[in-house]
Symmetry: C2
Subunit: 373 residues, 2 copies
């Protein structure tokens, strides 16, 4: 059935128009003009009390749900957002914006630097998760929303959710950090560093100035392959690929003999078409810098009213469950109402995009509860 025009979703753009029209960054630098790409689903009620902010992961974008004209696949969390779904668009007004530093419509290293008329490249300032959230706060202010019903996100989206609770505890009622951490462990930093090194090792990266010559394809593809290994679990790889061969016999050459090799190559080189290498550098750096452990979380608050639902997945070895348990421990110290669930799953870190049925049950009930109180 053909969709009518009004059924398609559209990405919109918000450029900070309030003076000083700039975003003050944690590095001490500032960024401006700054634009956020965003989408919304559902309707904001008159009281502006039904808004939920969805925060995306490393390579996500503002297009979380529905179809844009010409799309073959729906937004990245479409299974979770829509009528009757976990984030029910009959009840809630859902906002999702692309992060600052990204490459999907928000200002990032591939944007034009107004001082030079050329892409920023690595003249773009290093940004933090806090900067991403501060930018979102401007967007929420623009909507005139004083208090978000909830901020939710998985992986880096979960970091943003935690940052919202920590920096703007009066501006949200509930918070759902999924498959995330208060800070990266050295192993997580190490994976990110190798990802960055892989990109920067490619001569086509040209110190970041590749916008005329084309992406550092090989370095970026290898970087993404590393990522993909960490997104899946040992078990889910075993179930999906085992040692299945692409052809009947081993090649005795350096081609992709095993299906898992072909899969990685495909995912790696496909990523090059859709994601800016410099954005990958900036966003991984922001994740590595993120640290809300100990006293750094909600520094002004002894006792918070923000309500939390923390979710982790048993087979997630990139953001292992003990990191979510660290979050819960810290929340308890702030006397926060906290529900925690370590969902049994074999999908590894990807589970937050896959285990929809379990997440839906948890989140629906939690939000219903939040609305009632």
């Amino acid at each position: 059935m053909k969709k009518t025009d009004s059924e398609f979703v559209r990405t919109r753009y918000f450029t900070f128009a309030e003076p000083p029209c700039r975003l003050e960054l944690k590095s001490g630098l500032s960024l401006g003009p700054a634009t956020l790409a965003y989408e919304t689903y559902g309707k904001l009620n008159n009281e502006k009390s039904n808004a939920i902010l969805v925060c995306h992961a490393l390579s996500g974008d503002a297009h979380a749900a529905g179809f844009q004209e010409g799309d073959k696949t729906a937004g990245w969390w479409d299974d979770m957002i829509g009528p009757g779904k976990a984030l029910d668009t009959r009840l809630y007004f859902i906002i999702c914006s692309n992060v600052i530093g990204g490459c999907k419509g928000s200002t990032g290293p591939s944007s034009i630097n107004p001082r030079t008329g050329k892409p920023y490249a690595i003249d773009f300032p290093v940004i933090t998760i806090a900067d991403m959230v501060d930018a979102q706060k401007h967007l929420i202010d623009y909507f005139g929303i004083a208090k978000l019903l909830c901020v939710i996100g998985g992986s880096m989206g979960g970091m943003q959710a935690l940052q919202w609770a920590s920096a703007y505890p009066d501006n949200l009622i509930a918070c759902i950090p999924i498959a995330t951490a208060l800070k990266h462990s050295p192993q997580q930093i190490a994976f990110d560093e190798v990802i960055r090194q892989s990109i920067m090792a490619d001569p086509a990266w040209r110190g970041g100035n590749y916008y005329e010559s084309g992406q550092p394809e090989k370095g970026l593809a290898v970087a993404r392959m590393i990522g993909h290994i960490t997104f899946m679990s040992d078990q889910s790889m075993e179930e999906k690929f085992s040692r299945k061969l692409k052809n009947e016999k081993l090649s005795f050459q350096f081609t992709d003999d095993f299906e898992v090799e072909g899969y990685l190559r495909y995912r790696g080189y496909n990523f090059v078409k859709r994601f800016d290498a410099n954005s990958y550098l900036y966003i991984t750096k922001a994740m590595d810098y993120f640290d809300l452990s100990g006293e750094k979380f909600m520094p002004q608050v002894k006792r918070t009213n923000v309500r939390f639902l923390v979710i982790s997945f048993t087979s997630d070895w990139l953001y292992p469950s003990h990191q979510s348990q660290d979050i819960v421990r810290l929340l308890k110290r702030k006397h926060a109402y906290t529900t925690y669930c370590d969902l049994k799953s074999s999908y590894g870190h990807d589970a937050f995009l896959i285990e929809i049925r379990e997440e839906t049950k948890l989140i629906k009930n939690f939000l219903a509860n939040v609305r009632l109180t």
Copy 2:
């Protein structure tokens, strides 16, 4: 105290001299002339019954113990090999040879191809763990050793040990596979594939023909960094690095802010000086091809007299303990005398090089037992 000449160890070279002077490979191709670099420690007894073959891991070499003239550090398993040590040179004659395909004196892709007078590069045939072991068998024959007392090795060395038991069950009394597997899981293949892709993505790799222009340094360094992450455990990284900064403050630049980043860069670029990129391709491929699971192990044998000591480490996530338990299960089906120990350690896969005290106890007792029976 200055060492006398006779106290230094020396690498020796064995070139297959028996006609046809060639090594028949599992690919159907053959290789010749073929040379193995090897070292020995201790003395072969008159009965030639006290020989232990040590098999090295991915980036190892023949220099397992002692000092060569000018060396600042001892061989890679010196803590295990020597008078009074686990592999006691007062009792045993220890042999360690560099694998075929390597770059430490044995014939490999950096060796001269007699047909062209230039390095083989990727005209070198793809080799398997079985080929490595067949080459070692020639060396053992050359020593006139009919039966090895033991074959021992960790990681890829453990694969060789298992291959020895499977292919030459009458030529060894005991076998000690450590931190290894009967076959690579898709996750292990995936890491190896990304390692290979990283090397081949570097334009300096030049399709393998870089011997005049110099190594693909960046690609090889990134490849090794990936490896290093998998060698350590989350916990050992936490203990060694935590989130310690190299300097007082975050740089807000793409330098190595965290100690773990500096460590990886150092290890990565240091590796470039000592290891041939093409050898890394060939040896990882050999590991991925290795598969002794099910009926492929000891195909001719219903009931074996080879005695096994299988060792794994609790925090090893590259070769997780369940893979060693798969080995034990298979050995039981062959009615093999098998001792298994899952050693508690926080060092991850590196543990086989570090947990010397525990390994020494186990191996000493096991070998004493083997000698008595």
